[in-house]
Structures are given as structure tokens and as C-alpha cells.
């Protein structure tokens, strides 16, 4: 039997396990297994770089985030909620000003300023190359910029998760 077919069947079994399992932790483990099998399929389909991303980020980081979220879901008292709210306002009160200043800096300094037609011109002149690094750097600069923003958003989300634990420890 073809290895790809075996991997696809295994992935389907782990997907069904994820969907049907009652326990959230077990469902999360099923999701991680699905992700690991997807990584193997990606390697088989000559997409090594994407496979490494999938393995490190989806199988590792996302599982950690899920397990942390599940383990942190225990109730707080009303007093703790009020303290949490006050501490958050005190801590992040300056954030709108920082965002406004950053937006003004990006607008007035014209950062980034070379996204306009570079990718379409490059596609016309060179075609689409095989090397993923060249594709990312020459054709998808705007995506890279957006990805940096997304990673910052994700890290803020993770910071929110772990801040809860700090408040719990008061």
C-alpha cells in the first residue's frame, strides 16, 4: 500500500479521535498527533520548510497553548476580577498612545514603502521560482510584514494567558 495513503488514513483516524473524544486534553493530544502526521505528509510532498513550521509551531506551540488554557480554566472570585481589571488598566493605559505614535511613524516615515508593484513585476520578469525562500523574499514581502504583526498579536494573546496565572497567585 502507498505510504501516502497509510499516512492519510492515520491522519483521518486521529482527526476522528479529536472530534469524538470527550476529554479536552485527549482532544488536544489528538490534534497534535494529526499535526505530526500532516508534517510527515508534507515531507513526502517535498515541502520540507512548511513541514518544519508545522511540526514546531502547530504540533508544539499550539498544543502548549491549548494545554495551558485548559489548565488555567478555574473560577476567580468577584474581588479578584476587580483587582485584575484595575491592574490591567494601570498596566496598559499607555498602549493606545504607543499605537497612535507607531501608526504616525509608519505613515510619516513611509515604512514600508516598496510593496506596491514589486511582486507583480517580479512575477512578470522571473516567473515563480521553486525555492521557497526566494518566493517569500521577492514575492511576499507584504505577507512577511503582516506575519510579524500577527506574531506580535499572538504573543500578546499568550501574554494574556500567562498573566492570569500571576493574578491567581496573589
Amino acid at each position: 500500500m502507498d505510504i501516502n495513503l497509510v499516512l492519510l488514513i492515520l491522519m483521518m483516524i486521529s482527526t476522528l479521535w479529536t472530534v469524538m473524544c470527550r476529554s479536552l486534553i485527549k482532544a488536544t493530544i489528538g490534534l497534535a498527533v494529526t499535526s505530526a502526521i500532516l508534517t510527515a505528509i508534507m515531507f513526502r510532498l517535498n515541502s520540507a520548510l512548511a513541514a518544519v513550521f508545522e511540526l514546531s509551531v502547530c504540533t508544539g506551540l499550539i498544543t502548549v497553548v491549548f494545554v495551558s488554557t485548559i489548565s488555567l480554566t478555574k473560577p476567580l472570585t468577584h474581588k479578584e476580577i476587580e483587582e485584575l481589571s484595575k491592574a490591567r488598566h494601570k498596566r496598559f493605559g499607555y498602549l493606545p498612545i504607543v499605537i497612535a505614535l507607531a501608526a504616525a511613524a509608519i505613515y510619516f516615515l513611509k515604512i514600508p514603502n516598496d510593496f506596491s508593484d514589486s511582486s507583480s513585476m517580479a512575477i512578470r520578469s522571473q516567473g515563480i521560482p521553486e525555492d521557497v525562500c526566494i518566493v517569500l523574499w521577492n514575492f511576499r514581502k507584504l505577507d512577511l510584514f503582516a506575519q510579524i504583526m500577527l506574531i506580535i498579536a499572538g504573543s500578546l494573546g499568550v501574554a494574556t494567558l500567562f498573566e492570569e496565572r500571576k493574578i491567581d497567585e496573589w
Binding site: 508534507m42 515563480i128 521553486e130 498579536a153 500578546l156 494574556t160
Partner: protein, 106 residues
């Protein structure tokens, strides 16, 4: 695409469709926020595999990989932020039932 490649791609497409349906089923039947995020993850994984398979069979592996890397980054941001929101909802409602979110109406 040759006949053999087309057959191979159809095998992938069948399993991708099954995975997508499983994720969608999970999304529809559950009321738990964390399980909804898991269902979204399954849907994203199905799309990721579709992009990789199409890139492989059309010979545009570089482009498909760059798209998948973008998808993975978006996926991580979604999970991190949705996890934070789920935690916050749990703090205020004492459970993760999405029907309780109606209480947030102003």
C-alpha cells in the same frame, strides 16, 4: 496533470474533504469554546494539506510552501488570541458555553 497524478490528487482530495467535514461537524455540534477552536484548527489543517497537495501536483512547491507558512502564522495568532478570549469568558461566566455569551449584549 497526468492521469496517474490526477488519481493520486483525488485520493488526497477525498481525505481532505473528510477532514474538513469532521472539523465542520465538530464546529456545529459543540458549545464549548475550546472545542470550537480545535474544530477551527482541523479546518485550517485541511486547507493547509490542500494547498500543499495542489502545489505538489502543479509543480509550484515554493509558492505553496510560502502560502502555508503564512497560514501557519495566522493559525498561531488565532489560537493564541482565541485561547485568551476563552480564558476571559471563563473568568466571567464560570464556564466555556458559547450560549452564555449572549449575556455580553449591551
Amino acid at each position: 496533470m497526468s492521469g496517474e497524478n490526477w488519481q493520486s490528487f483525488l485520493t488526497f482530495a477525498f481525505f481532505i474533504a473528510l477532514m474538513f467535514v469532521s472539523g465542520f461537524y465538530c464546529l456545529l455540534i459543540t458549545r464549548n469554546m475550546l472545542r470550537i477552536i480545535i474544530a477551527l484548527e482541523l479546518l485550517i489543517k485541511a486547507v493547509t494539506l490542500l494547498v500543499i497537495a495542489v502545489g505538489f501536483y502543479t509543480g509550484m512547491v515554493g509558492l505553496s510552501q510560502s502560502l502555508v507558512i503564512t497560514i501557519i502564522v495566522i493559525e498561531v495568532a488565532i489560537v493564541a488570541v482565541a485561547g485568551g478570549i476563552a480564558l476571559r469568558v471563563f473568568r466571567y461566566n464560570d464556564n466555556l458555553d458559547v450560549r452564555r455569551l449572549r449575556n455580553l449584549r449591551g
